[in-house]
Subunit: 362 residues, 2 copies
Amino acid sequence: MYLSKRGHDVCIVDNMAKRRWEAAVNATPLFTVPTIQDRIRTYKEKVKCDISFRYCDIAENPKLLNEIFDQFLPDAVIHYAEQPSAPYSHISAGAAIETQRNNILGTLALMYSVLHSNPSCHIIKLGTMGEYGTPDIDIEEGYLDITHNGRTARCLYPKKAGSIYHLSKCHDSHNLEFGCRAFNLRVTDLNQGVVYGIDTDETWLDTGLGTSFHYDAIFGTVLNRFLAQAAVGEALTVYGSGTQTRGFLNIRDTLACVEIALLNPAQEGEFRVFNQFTETWSILGLAQLVQSVTTCKIQNIPNPRVEDEDHYYNAKNSALTDLGLDPHLLTVQTIKDMYRSIWKHRKNIHVDRLMPTVKWRG
Amino acid sequence: MYLSKRGHDVCIVDNMAKRRWEAAVNATPLFTVPTIQDRIRTYKEKVKCDISFRYCDIAENPKLLNEIFDQFLPDAVIHYAEQPSAPYSHISAGAAIETQRNNILGTLALMYSVLHSNPSCHIIKLGTMGEYGTPDIDIEEGYLDITHNGRTARCLYPKKAGSIYHLSKCHDSHNLEFGCRAFNLRVTDLNQGVVYGIDTDETWLDTGLGTSFHYDAIFGTVLNRFLAQAAVGEALTVYGSGTQTRGFLNIRDTLACVEIALLNPAQEGEFRVFNQFTETWSILGLAQLVQSVTTCKIQNIPNPRVEDEDHYYNAKNSALTDLGLDPHLLTVQTIKDMYRSIWKHRKNIHVDRLMPTVKWRG
């Protein structure tokens, strides 16, 4: 919707896998999400722009994906088709394998469809800041100049992912970087921080156009989950000490970043990496911010993940602001606006879905 | 056979995929390879030791793999179950996806079967020196201490693989390194150089126990292929300038390295990396060595791969020799012995399978 309203001709390719994964773990978005077809119709009525839709499981049916590329002939493809949850990837061996199957084979299929149809089509891939982990050195944007025994080499930044899901994203990045080297593809990798937020200018057009807002422990990102806990009078569950620090960004900025990448494409053969976050927060700091607005309690619980809690964190993120990103920073007002929407729908919140059930060392 | 003869109790798990891949690309080993069941029977007759065999596609049937682990209860597992050819992975989009599906999902299934059955089972994985690529700095054994902006971190050595196949091995390494961190697994990653050679003490027991020796452009490694070309009076085809330098080792040493890793297992939670090669050669240097024995011609042909030809190469490999590896180095005598065997079977060589048909930029 964001891109279509700005004059881009958009085709959505989806296999509805996210709805299946949600159902499998008994998760439902806070706000009802109509079918994609109904959402497109509603959008069309409001904006008088069309968006097309093709059903395709890209990991299972690469030939159909080739056909879609040949028919639509996109200038760019935005790759959102990944299983996006770290906890989901740790439910079981099956979920781990399914996550890497979907993400890695889907990304490969996408890469080869671009190669088949139009190698100069710009691939914009959603990566994650979680690919880097929390190294004891500054995190650069994708690459690092390494001096060792008196010689220097420019290398892909060494990764240390903290989940099977995050690993799948590393593998996708390496596969696509090779695609740039070997096949002269053009790729932008957006290493996204943790996203929060509910509304955009487009979701305000109609209640049927709302985001798929998750508050549960599997698909809900931390700030969204904290606000849901506050809305039902539960304590905010901070994993471990909460001193873990991460990059964050508002959902509005994710769309702006994608359009910036679209309008400033990578060169042929270039694997370009942007760190896509606007500010860093510790988990405990976020909880305290929410507490300052909602007067909820904070509870430190055993960390279900395997991650460093006390760690250095200094990640660079200047590339997107250099290209014009004007960030929506997290303020008390942001929290109040989000909280108001969530409070209105608090009867939809299932309290039993807020506590983590998936443990890395299960 | 090597391990069984030394008193280890061995169970082979295989799905015969390699025979299928060979058939798909019209490749046949130089020496007839009987069925695995017949090979085991022959071995048993000669040595009076038994080897068990289970048919299982580990990537497709992780549950059966769990059962096999629960029944056999291995102290260690040696992971050879990967699609092993870089050219194969570049035949088509389908072969690329199949390679990563088989290798990554198979390795994940193996990791989770170990976790399910006995997390202290030592995983010995065959990696490849090709994971590192040819960086402008020294190649260490798995890890690198990186100093950046005044701070230092120990990182997994940054990888730059040169094919879809080599990438799959990088992804496996990263998945297993995570398994050590998250699940306390013990893993040894043997980053193997290019293997050459035909015979071992065990293959000499009976002609039905010979190695699956490939000379073709898809599955044949470079020295094996050169000797086949010489045996049929063809020029040795050097890809590009031939100044590409790689680590090499004799097939006998690969088995010795695996047993060294077995007898000196990684610690719990340790992802240990050994660079498993005994010497480095340039491709042209190898061709000249073969030429000195066989008086064949050398022909430089356009490089079908995407790789640097003029590059720095200084890779460390002391860990295995420190543990007692006594290398079989490549000599004129080695070439003469190999050439004699190949010459005897030269009527089996299909000349049309010697030239590269798969091009990375195809």
